[in-house]
Amino acid sequence: MRFLHQTTTPAALFVLAAVFVGACGAGNGSSTVPISATTGVQAISGQTVTLVTHDSFWVSEGTLREFTAESGVEVEVQRLGDTGQLVASAILTSGDPLGDVLYGVDNTFLQRALDADLFTPYESPALTGVPASLILDPGHRVTPIDFGDVCVNYWIDAFDDDLPEPSGLADLVDPAYSGMLAVQNPETSSPGMAFLLATIAEYGDGWEEYWSALRHNDVSVTTGWEDAYYGEFIAGGGDRPIVVSYASSPPAEVIYADPPVDSPPTAVLTDTCFRQVEFAGILAGTENRAASEALVDFLLSPTFQEDIPLNMFVFPALEAATLPDEFVDFVKLPDNPHVLDPAMIEANRNDWTERWTDLVLR
């Protein structure tokens, strides 16, 4: 058996090494520094906190380093899937959390996360700069960090005086706009869910009637945002001039235009928006409570908040945060976006989506 000895041993060592290195490299900052009641910089300096978040999370290179410079706390970011995957993972691992702070649960999933007791309350002093409408958990188990509006977008050039752009949800069932709207399946897409919630917030129990009419008006349903925006909508070469997207889509159409443009080719119907608020919360079971609190405070600091728009294409929760020019120039935020109580969303979403599926897809 000389051969097996000679050739499999290095391979075996490789695998074993992989396992061992993996095991050793996996220490995710479970520091043994005792929890201190005083949250002084001295007490937490040298600790590492792990920020668990979704795959869309990103901030400029130096932003988190600024936090480390101020507090002495290192931040390790772990990104995991989309919002749904992130929340499901956090619930599954609630006995042994993946990190110290979770950032990225939104109001459509909030109640599910709260019901699972994922978070421990923390009322950040920075909340004073955040509008009360974003603070959806009075118990402060989660802290609002950013928000984004899911709105109906339209291709400006597709409309003119003969056929002006629709003015709101009601127009979308007008036969004049037949075959123009592309939406996403609320069971597979976050903006799709938000748009369904917008119609429920607008029409109450009449939402089913509204969707029957939409279907009658030849609405196109796709699985995700990408195939709606790039497959159906004019921006990606499709033939539909109206699509469910974000309030931040027009500035993106300018920033990432090719060739460059002075103003976006798309605009937003502000009466159709549903507001998605993203929260951060300190995960129950953390051993780095003080450092985690410091991180949540930092997430609401102007440094972090002003870095949010261009990296994540959502809006800072902090009212005083300065927006980049493109967001100032090309974003129209609704004065009264549609909102629904997270508890109500969680209690009804399965029922709503099932009825929606029957109405629109069957």
Partner: protein, 534 residues
């Protein structure tokens, strides 16, 4: 002593790998789900008309996709196995390329092709139909059949076919009565992989099938991720695993029939006739070429004309991403190398056990190591999260977990290409070597290994490609931002409006394809030297 150690490692390494990274996590998550209402769901499933519809559709689309893939791929397999032509090696490498393309990109390309052919609407509508799903499955899996069967076919003695022709059989009769039965182990191996792939296909079904179509895989995802109903998801995952076990069991049975001898005297392959070449390339071009051509065209489209701008942009980081697209490609490449090394090690050893081990052990290995291919990414991802959380197995956020997850899916490819070839090696060659003084180990190294190297290389190429393009399980594992992989970067680029981002995504997809093509080509050209040492 070393013999015992070697045998122990042969069995122990695959067992440890599968047990630790698949069985333990899957059992953990299933146990979690069953205790959380899964049992009631399971009991309720047979009575649910919705479930029966979904289950039937899942099996149906997988079966039809598999048959179509085999039918479309066999002429190409014959071409690469039995004919000589310029670019034969290139064609083989190119065929692997679709494998790495993220479904979101391929979906878009297919939709564009349908659109251009006038099939996105009207009576020949393909968009959001089951046909779109089937066509895309053929696109993704063609290479599996082409290469697995092709490499096996190449090693078959052409004598019986020649005999049949001389006895008066037409080429078609010869193929059906002589060739096909002899190819059965390889066809069964390839088909069972394709079937599992289609059974658990996710992106293709959602994107091309549209919102009206659901399979067990998409239902598992919907119930667990969107509805937070782990009980229902677990019941479905159990059903899926049982179906996979059944499929693998049947497939393995079909493969077990021993092929008769690798050829010892080889007639040189004839040069391909132009019509034969044209017909084959035409077919492959239609299924694989068109969507790829659309991608390539889009990747050059920028600033209203054609240029290399999108490719230049890959070296510049956009705000949305922690790394440049090129750095993400490097990450993917490194992960793929690690995953391939693990898949080849585990799959290679397991294949030896399957072929040379005791019967019961052999069957268990043959079955067990195929399972990850048919398990939902949700099951594997969530399972790893809840199982691998305690020292010494606190691997959840280890950088090695991503390649390990990829290797789990790569191992079946290594085994399915290696096992039929190892089985078909003429036992007299081993005896001749033994009599010449080669110990069993030396026989493995000098005879089995070089002869099987061709198959091993094909399997390794697939493991590499699978890892490069893997998106599902990866997205369930926590990763640091600087470990961004190319498919994830691509997904992020496509998730924000702006032609610039889209163009860059297309360029990234094309680079991913080219890297795959070259890597596979490079691995394969090395095989010529194997075993020829004096």
């Amino acid at each position: 002593m070393t013999g015992r150690l070697a045998r122990f490692l042969c069995v122990g390494i695959p067992v440890a790998f599968l047990g630790l990274f698949f069985i333990y996590p899957v059992v953990s998550i299933l146990g979690f789900g069953l205790s959380g209402g899964g049992l009631e769901h399971l009991v309720g499933l047979p009575g649910s008309a919705t479930f029966r519809g979904v289950a039937w559709f899942t099996l149906w689309q997988a079966a039809v996709s598999t048959v179509l893939t085999v039918v479309v791929a066999l002429p190409g397999a014959h071409l690469v196995a039995r004919r000589r032509f310029a670019g034969r090696r290139l064609l083989r490498a190119l065929a692997t390329v679709p494998f790495v393309l993220p479904t979101v990109v391929v979906g878009g390309a297919f939709l564009a092709v349908f659109d251009r052919l006038g099939m996105s609407d009207g009576s020949f509508r393909l968009t959001h139909t089951v046909w779109a799903v089937l066509i895309a499955h053929v696109f993704f899996n063609l290479a599996v059949v082409l290469r697995t069967v092709g490499s096996y076919w190449e090693g078959l003695d052409p004598g019986p076919e020649e005999q049949a022709r001389v006895l008066g059989a037409s080429p078609a009769q010869t193929f059906v009565m002589v060739t096909l039965p002899r190819l059965r182990p390889a066809v069964a191996a390839a088909a069972s992989i394709v079937f599992l792939f289609c059974l658990t296909s996710f992106g293709v079904v959602l994107l091309l099938g549209g919102p009206g179509i659901a399979t067990i895989e998409t239902e598992i995802w919907r119930h667990s991720v969107w509805r937070g109903d782990f009980g229902a998801a677990t019941a479905l995952a159990l059903v899926q695993l049982v179906a996979v076990l059944a499929v693998v069991g049947v497939g393995n049975g079909l493969q077990r029939r021993r092929a008769v001898g690798l050829r010892t005297v080889v007639a040189r392959a004839p040069v391909a006739g132009w019509w034969e070449l044209a017909a084959n390339l035409g077919l492959l071009g239609l299924v694989m070429g068109l969507p790829v051509a659309v991608l390539v065209e889009r990747s050059f489209l920028s600033g209203g004309g054609y240029s290399l701008d999108n490719y230049r942009a890959l070296a510049v980081r956009v705000d949305l991403l922690p790394l440049t697209a090129l750095e993400a490609l490097v990450n993917s490449f490194v992960f793929a190398l690690a995953a391939t090394a693990m898949a080849v090690t585990v799959g290679g050893l397991a294949s030896l056990v399957v072929v040379h081990g005791q019967r019961a052990l052999s069957r268990v290995f043959d079955l067990g190591l195929m399972l990850p291919l048919g398990a939902s990414a949700v099951t594997i991802g969530f399972g790893m999260l809840i199982a691998l959380d305690q020292p010494p197995l606190d691997l959840r956020s280890s950088r090695w977990l991503v390649p390990v997850a990829h290797a789990l899916i790569g191992v079946p490819f290594v085994m399915r290409t290696l096992v039929p070839t190892l089985r078909s090696i003429d036992w007299r060659l081993r005896e001749a070597a033994a009599v010449l003084g080669a110990s069993p180990g030396v026989v493995r190294r000098r005879i089995d290994f070089p002869i099987a190297a061709r198959a091993l290389v094909v399997g390794a190429g697939f493991a590499f490609a699978v890892s490069l393009g893997e998106f599902g399980a990866t997205s369930f594992l926590p990763r640091q931002p600087d470990r961004l992989t190319a498919p994830l970067a691509l997904f992020r680029l496509l998730g924000t409006p702006g032609q610039q981002l889209r163009g860059q995504a297309m360029a990234l997809a094309v680079v991913l394809m080219v890297i795959t093509g070259f890597s596979v080509l490079a691995i394969e050209t090395r095989r010529g030297s194997a075993g020829a040492d004096l």
